[in-house]
Amino acid sequence: MAYQPPKDPQEIPVEEVSCGLLIIGGGNAGCFAAVEARKLSPEMDIVIMEKAHISRSGATAAGMDAINTYIPPGKTPEDLVRWSRSQVGGGPIREDLALTNAQELNQAVDDLEDWGLPIVRDDEGNIKYRGGWDISIRGEALKPIMAEKAIETGARVYNRVVATNLLMDGEKCVGAMGFGLRDGKFYVFRAKATIVATGGACGLYKSYTADSTTSHHQTWMCPFNVGTGYAMGIRQGAEMTSMEQRWVATRTKDFCGPVDTISVGYRSAMINGRGEKILEKHYAHLGGDKAPRYIRANAPMDEWLAGRGPTFVDTTHLSDEEAKELKIDYLCERPSFVLFLASRNHDVTKEPIEIYGSDPYIVGGHTQSGYWVDVERMTTIPGLFAAGETAGGNPNKFVGGCAAEGKLATRGALKYMQAVTLPPLDQARMKAQIEAEKARVFSPLMKGAEFDGVSPVEMEERMQRLMDEYAGGTSQFYRTNEERLDYALRHLAMLKSQIGLLHAGDLHGLMLAHEVIDRLDVAEVLCHHLKHRRETRWPGWQTRSDFPEADPALDCFVETVRDPLTGEIKSFTRPYEQVVPGDRFKPTLDGKF
């Protein structure tokens, strides 16, 4: 039977759920958070609120072929922080977060192996390193493995429930609200402590593969992670850090797949149209193949800009056996890339693989954009903790680091909740908050069939093109300037003023409507961060064509807070504190690359 949208908010069924620990987003960090909560507290009442189904959701849905960080014998957590810091050009990074995460990292990865994740080992049984810090896995089932462990904890898992806003008790977070994609209910989760682990934000920018194709989601990051976790905090005045440090990566061209698999895993150099080794030729002074990540990420696009494209990773030295191994890696992580090669009759031993820059993402597990958190992983909103891509300040977390951070956030949350009692929901101001959110959430569904409005896709595409052209997307080689950012902000404001015109015919459409609403909030904050950094610190990730050099005065964190009442966004800075000794720009203590 065709779906009948409600006509009146009163018709919408409300489900209230109370618990100790609420985890929003049952992904990589979220599953580890649940397991840790059970380990520490046999009594803990754990709830997971998940937009998709936890068996295949988020960044790891298709699988994984590597764990990018695992500390090898002979190295220390401090060494990992040094490497991580150098990868982002000496930071600034939050070294307190990086170090505590590094101390927890190997145990989290060992947990995964104990749970049944195959980690590639050599004939002697030693873990095989792909590069300096990353190890190969056969991770097709990584997500179901993590999900099974989360379910085993006895946590109540609410699949297909989309979080839309935090539940607040004054300044404190006491849970979250959202809607059921299957049952159309409005959900109110009341919790002593809440962990937001909704992953990063994909789709703020247009992906170049969206032009003249039927493929709008040919993106590297999971396109269903849209930044709701950030948006919910932004709307309540949470402090966000380093949003301008966008993640722009080198990816396979016309099919946005990972490239480390090829370049690190199979020692395949990046080359330009003339066959020159790009990093060796143009970036030797910055470390060549070991140059900071943003240099490597931006290099192919710089070659195009300089007229030396196309760009490739050179796989022509691979033997047939190695080429097969390479495809096995992809089958574990992005299987359709193997189909893509076949659909172009591409023999990688004869032809190199073409590469290009990705659309920019906000992912605090890769670069360091996200919530400003304390060392317990509590955000500036009491009761709200962040883990994985949502938590800022600490880049290069990836699978292992996001898992470790899930555990750390749980420990922080459990400590915090000892002093908390839950506010009754029948208080007048709670009631008003819940009613207002219910009306906001369902409004796109209640416009009626005759309504002359805007579809979520129309608004999303306008926003993505705006961000691409004015806020430094792929088509602009990631560059922006003051005037373009002002233009972007003006038009984002116009888009926001038309949110009331969004309409949806069913619950899936309602989800799409909220996805664009949330992306607009993140995009606006991002533009303010890009505006504040009047310098170029991480070319590609953050390039200001009007301020092409780094400014020593901006060797600090850029922060924003949005006023929950007026919507005004204030930007300011926080100082960098070095915790781990050594040259910030070098990955090792002895200064060698």
Binding site: C222, P223, F255, L331, S336, V338, L339
Partner: protein, 109 residues
């Protein structure tokens, strides 16, 4: 890279409350049509993660590369085992490659 459902093979996962492909899709894209067969509600929104293709007990879902990105005629088919998956890939010339990949358990055992 949208999934294409073979209507002769799909049985709508009869006994299930929710068909398996619908359960797993991270983007909420797979659903049943009025003919009780699965379809992808927005081809443009698919992430080509192949979760639906892998989970289908009838092998009814074929992942397609949009023509603008890859030419017509290649295929990649998973066969799921308990602790491994066997992939069969066929290119445009009909060359077949097969891969058996471990999915669970200690490596080398």
């Amino acid at each position: 890279m949208p999934p294409k459902v073979d209507l002769n093979k799909c049985d709508g996962c009869q006994a299930q409350d929710e068909p398996l492909c619908e359960q797993v899709c991270p983007g909420n894209l797979m659903t049943l049509g009025e003919n009780a067969k699965a379809y992808c509600r927005e081809l443009r929104d698919c992430w080509d993660c192949m979760s639906c293709t892998k989970v289908c007990p009838k092998g009814a879902i074929d992942t397609r590369v949009p023509y603008q990105l890859g030419y017509h005629g290649a295929s990649l088919t998973p066969m799921m085992g308990t602790n491994s998956v066997t992939w069969t890939c066929v290119d445009l010339n009909g060359n077949v490659e097969r891969f058996r990949v471990k999915t669970r358990g200690r490596y080398g055992e």
